[in-house]
Symmetry: C2
Subunit: 96 residues, 2 copies
């Protein structure tokens, strides 16, 4: 959906997991504060909901940060007993 | 009298909640099977992860159904004790 351009080289990633949502919101603000043009919020499985929360809080709190694109995909991970398992993943690209 | 027959069906909604993911996958297939050109998968809060699962399963199982767009937003709901609460929401539009 998002066209890959040279500027994505400046993108930084925030991987959303089991910490509180505000930890990731802070991580996004920190990366933009350090000069990032784009920050990509990524999550898999049940953390996808939190990734959307992070993106929404970021853009509601700081209106100069915009939503650029959202992509969803399926990734194969290994379960604890070594079997492959498909999980959904999301990448939310925010730009300043 | 017959002038309405050409009218294509507008988008239909599938609201993803606490049921098993396959129930919603089936709902999407059913709506496309009934002639829908687009089906919009919607969810709020923790169900957002399941909505992404539904979209991914649908497009992996039936490759003529494509992902058209994804939107995220913040909606205000009422808590049980009547206070307003912001929750994130997602709308995933699939097209055939």
């Amino acid at each position: 959906m998002a066209s890959e351009t040279k500027e994505t080289k400046q993108a930084n990633y925030v991987f959303v997991g089991k910490k509180g949502v505000m930890a990731y919101v802070l991580a996004v603000f920190t990366q933009f504060g350090a000069g990032a043009k784009e920050v990509i919020i990524k999550a898999r499985g049940k953390s996808i909901s939190s990734a959307v929360d992070v993106a929404e809080i970021v853009r509601n709190k700081q209106t100069d940060i915009k939503l650029k694109s959202i992509e969803i995909s399926t990734e194969e991970v290994q379960t604890e007993d070594g079997r492959p398992l498909n999980v959904s993943a999301i990448s939310i690209t925010m730009k300043k």
